[in-house]
């Protein structure tokens, strides 16, 4: 099957029916794609990503992941589905007081023997792959440091290593570089690109800067007020489309 995710009529309503975050959204994501979500703050990007792994419960509609209905999955099925969908976050979401190694190893929690994990005991091959993944993101020497001793860029790389531990089919990145400076942003984005190209992981990333979206995305989905306003190739976004997505007053800012 070529299609990894199919979203059908997804709707999310917040706050006792007062705010409509996602309004009847439908789209598909093919295997091996690098899909970029763009749109203003509050346009529903984060909600959409969190609905896919059900960190947020959708109000209506359904989401098929590899043919399995995520929205109807039982707690047990959901855990098994979540192992295949890794996620990295804007604020990195590392456990700040734990070591980098523990943070990376926590990516295996869905797989390992739960009893052993309770006393922080992981199989030897997991430890080896944790070091291998830290090596891959270029911070092997930081393994025993506390996570909050690292710089922002390094913390996001720990987040990527944690995602790699899951050996995921899908990587969701919720504004992965918004808290980073431009130079670091590119290095983080390149790791995502590498995962996408070399490991064949499908990536859905929400990004603030259109220049980053153009540079890394194979396809772009633009959200506005909870609805899709644009879907297509990065090259198809011209001035007019840009104004439509971001509003009349917006000016494009370049990140190099």
């Amino acid at each position: 099957m070529d299609e990894l995710i199919r979203v059908e009529h997804l709707t999310k309503v917040y706050e006792r029916g007062e705010v409509l975050a996602l309004n009847d959204i439908s789209f598909t994501v093919k295997r091996g794609e690098f899909l970029v979500l763009i749109g203003l703050s509050g346009s529903g990007k984060s909600t959409l990503l969190r609905c896919i792994n059900r960190l947020i419960e959708p109000t209506a509609g359904r989401i098929l992941f590899d043919g399995i209905d995520v929205t109807r999955a039982s707690a047990r099925q959901l855990r098994q589905l979540r192992r295949r969908m890794a996620m990295i976050f804007q604020q990195f979401n590392l456990v700040r007081r734990s070591s980098v190694l523990t943070n990376v190893l926590s990516g295996r929690l869905g797989y390992v023997n739960p009893g052993a994990s309770a006393i922080h005991k992981f199989p030897k091959e997991d430890l080896e792959s944790a070091f291998a993944n830290l090596e891959r993101v270029g911070i092997p020497e930081q393994a025993y440091k506390r996570a909050d001793e690292l710089s922002g860029g390094q913390q996001q790389r720990v987040g990527i290593a944690r995602a790699l531990m899951q050996k995921p089919d899908l990587l969701m990145a919720d504004e992965p570089v918004s808290a980073l400076d431009p130079a670091t942003s590119h290095s983080v984005m390149q790791y995502l690109e590498q995962m996408n190209r070399e490991d064949g992981v499908t990536v859905i990333a929400s990004l603030h800067f259109l220049s980053l979206a153009r540079r890394y995305g194979t396809r772009i989905l633009a959200l506005k007020d909870g609805g899709i306003v644009f879907e297509g190739l990065p090259s198809e976004i011209d001035r007019e489309k840009f104004k439509e997505i971001y509003g009349e007053e917006a000016e494009e800012v370049e990140v190099r």
């Binding site: 007062e18 792994n53 979401n93 523990t102 926590s106």
Partner: protein, 437 residues
């Protein structure tokens, strides 16, 4: 983000929505009424104190005629409505409400008067607003929509900010200041504060101070009555270990309980809510019984003067107090890492082990040490009800005052020992907490 579309035929507002609009308005009025009621109570009390020549009954209490209490109720109700219609009362202010004209225009005095008159009927009819979408006493938020209505509504964020006035230039500032003054005056009278007596009778306790400051350490290591009581050092150790046992075992029990009392761990389903509510109620109920009251029970149970009684009482109270403090810490953890760990496919308890526990350990330790301080202090006086520890000697000597010449000097010795130990342990725990911080 926009509002979801709803069909025209169906009611735009559900009952919950209507209640949400009505609730602050009712609470605001209730608060104003209660505050005027408090003033009425205060006035009655003070009248009773200063104006007792007439209208007092056999017990010296102010009597009211049959219509007195209804009159007070009606008068406070009227006053509450007056302050509601003519001023920004404390009730309105607390719930972010204000009296608006159409389009958020200020309301002229004449209309405020009309509002006050209309309130006599409106307040009674207010519950009807739950069953209709019509602006009955203005249920709908948007004053733009309700046209000519003058109504109480939430202060909107979009309104231009007004220059804040000094507290003494606003009704609510003066009202609150008046309430505070009245409360202080009442408190002074109710607690029978009498500075004159304090000065006049200063000599009564003079010799006690002298004796206390010349402590006699006769029984520092010698038992007071061989075979029946022990020395100061012995009781001091008993106190320290009593507090230590209560703190450590209380913390061990409270640790798992704290997760059951944390909303973010228990989830939002029916089962989670039930466990959460039961645990929180239990903590609060147990916490509201001071350990000295529990010790009364345990002293009868395991024997008067037995340190086990004190330890048990402190232990129970520690569980309740620490569980509450701990679970508040659990609720305050950064939810981000928990989200991240849940996305890896981890089980709920794995999220707790890897995401929650590392975050809360420092504050757990700090709270435990803080509780240890409290327990030490409590253990020194728990003997008052037979809980054992250093207090046994303290109250023994205090009760010997008529029979023993140097009783107060002995009490002084116990107090000196107590101060030194409490101070030293406080100092240590403060240093440790600093390190954790």
């Amino acid at each position: 983000m926009k509002r979801p579309k709803k069909s025209k035929s169906a009611s735009y507002y559900t009952l919950t929505d209507r209640l949400a609009v009505l609730r602050p308005r009712i609470l605001a009025f209730a608060l104003d009424w209660v505050s005027w009621g408090f003033i009425a109570y205060g006035v009655m009390y003070l009248l009773n104190k200063y104006w007792y020549i007439r209208h007092v009954n056999f017990y010296g209490r102010l009597t009211l005629p049959g219509w007195g209490w209804p009159a007070v109720i009606v008068a406070t109700f009227e006053l509450a409505m007056l302050s509601h219609a003519f001023t920004q009362s404390i009730g309105l202010n607390l719930f972010g409400l204000r009296l608006f004209g159409p389009g958020y225009a200020p309301v002229p005095l004449r209309q405020r008067l009309a509002r006050f008159v209309a309130m006599h009927v409106g307040l009674v009819l207010q519950p009807l607003a739950l069953f209709t979408d019509r602006p009955l006493g203005a249920l709908v938020h948007d004053t733009e929509k309700t046209g000519r209505m003058v109504q109480i509504a939430k202060v909107k964020d979009e309104l231009p900010a007004e220059k804040p006035r000094k507290w003494y230039a606003t009704y609510r500032g003066l009202f609150l200041a008046g309430l505070l003054g009245l409360t202080f005056w009442l408190g002074w009278k109710i607690t029978a504060i009498n500075l004159q007596m304090l000065v006049e009778r200063i000599g009564k306790s003079g010799h006690i101070w002298e004796d206390l400051f010349t402590p006699r350490f006769t029984y520092l290591t010698e038992p007071v009555i061989p075979g029946r009581t022990f020395s100061i050092v012995h009781y001091m150790l008993e106190t320290i270990f009593m507090a230590f046992f209560a703190t450590v075992s209380g913390a061990i029990v409270a640790f798992p309980l704290s997760f059951l009392g944390a909303r973010n761990i228990m989830g939002f389903n029916a089962f989670g809510w039930t466990v959460y509510s039961v645990m929180r109620t239990l903590f609060n109920a147990l916490r509201s019984i001071e350990s000295i009251l529990m010790a009364v029970l345990f002293a009868v149970w395991v024997g008067f003067g037995n340190p086990f009684a004190g330890a048990l009482a402190l232990f129970l109270h520690t569980i309740a107090a620490l569980s509450k403090l701990y679970s508040e810490q659990v609720e305050a953890v950064d939810p981000g890492p928990l989200e991240a760990i849940a996305t890896t496919g981890a089980r709920r308890w794995q999220v707790v082990v890897y995401g929650v526990i590392p975050q809360i350990i420092p504050s757990y330790l700090a709270f435990t040490l803080y509780r240890w301080d409290i327990n030490i202090r409590m253990a020194t006086i728990i003997a008052l009800v037979g809980g054992g520890g250093i207090g046994t000697l303290l109250f023994y000597f205090k009760n010997e005052v008529g029979r023993l010449d140097d009783a107060w000097n002995q009490v002084g010795a116990v107090i000196v020992a107590l101060v030194i130990v409490v101070w030293a342990l406080d100092y240590i725990s403060a240093r440790v907490r600093e390190k954790i911080g």
